[in-house]
Amino acid sequence: MVNLNTIPPKNNRDFYIAIGLEGSANKLGVGIVKHPLLPKHANSDLSYDCGAEMLSNIRDTYMTPPGEGFLPRDTARHHRNWCVRLIKQAMAEAGIKDPTLDVDVICFTRGPGMGAPLHSVVIAARTCSLLWDVPLVGVNHCIGHIEMGREITKAQNPVVLYVSGGNTQVIAYSEKRYRIFGETLDIAIGNCLDRFARTLKIPNEPSPGYNIEQLAKKAPHKDSLVELPYTVKGMDLSMSGILASVDLLAKDLFKCNKKNKILFDKKTGEQKVTVEDLCYSLQENLFAMLVEITERAMAHVNSNQVLIVGGVGCNVRLQEMMAQMCKDRANGQIHATDNRFCIDNGVMIAQAGLLEYRMGGIVKDFSETIVTQKFRTDEVYAAWRD
């Protein structure tokens, strides 16, 4: 049993308020979350049911032209120039007038992520902390996703599939840590989809992965998949070879290379595969690999719940495939959130940071706020879990 009420709320209030600042990639998020102080949290294992209220959840995404990714320097500039405006907007929406009196803790993403954007946001967090005299808590980005997913879906102890532009991990909780059961050996699934979107030169708005999903829905030849490498290695996966393979096919398609027998009919030279078919086959192939390792992790830990988090978790086809697998297992349940909480956001950092704060974990010296590009999920001691 854990006591989530170790630190009382500020000024004898009966609730906590946390601000979360997220900026590990191209999304800048500011979120404000409120937890009521409840006696049941004093001796329980209820970190998935805090009664959290999202007072504001504002996000601004750094956008680049079609065919371009986001560079660290320009992404950091975006965060630097928007951070104050977003914090002001979030506070106005949440009705916070005096943060010195009203805010219990400022939570920021300490890693993993891109160094320069992380750095822009932590400077804002440190400044607010000094300005308002409010303590800081550094949050692991992956833990933010997990805790937000648990709070929203009320999944008590799920196997977590964390799929985003920078991460692909299958995670399960054991002995005060979120343990990584399987992960990518090279690039993340979102990175694979984004880079293919760049090859296709499709827009980055609202997100490259979303646009691939929409193209895949329109595939005319769903009954015959284009063969791509299937690279599950034990509990891990590899996706760089799949990307190279599908990239090559797309380039041959654009060049109208009739020698390519996968794309064009050997005898008539007629086109057999469209761009939409490539998007569909890529998705099916990648998602099948994810479903396979997730199912194996569920068997390992004897769980029947799956929680999908991260930006790629919004993909409806992935949710469908995972739901099918869960249905085939006895009483399996799938939990997913919508794009407000799936895609990187500030409230998830506030949620995980507030759990840590309520257990007494705050930054004691600014040297502890140094951000880090490499910060594995299992490095975090989850004091708030039993």
């Binding site: 750094y62 680049t64 032209p65 065919g67 371009e68 560079l71 320097r73 320009d74 500039r77 975006h78 630097r80 120039n81 928007w82 405006r85």
Partner: protein
Amino acid sequence: MTLPVALYSAPDGVEKNFIPTPDDPRYLTTEGRTTGPSDHVLNAGQIDRDKPSDPKYTADGSQLTYLSQLRTQLTGLQDDINEFLTRRMELAKNKKKAGAEEKRIQEEINQLLDGGDGEEDAD
């Protein structure tokens, strides 16, 4: 107001103080010369919607607000630091290049003096 200052020191003994000159136009803007979008994204057709907000003036319009003064002076200071560090990096790069060239010539001379005819790898 007190001016913001920056102090640079390096293990090779180089030290430099950066102090803004409040009336110089480079310390009166929030758009720095070195803090804009990179050339790469501009060439790719990026429209810059991430500019910093303009500095604000006091109600009577006579001068910049305290925070805006700080922002503009820091923008100029950041430019000074970036330009100084870029120069330092270029110097270091040129030194390294010159060193590599010197090493290559020396190796060639040594080889000739040793009677090498450049065919030792032929087998």
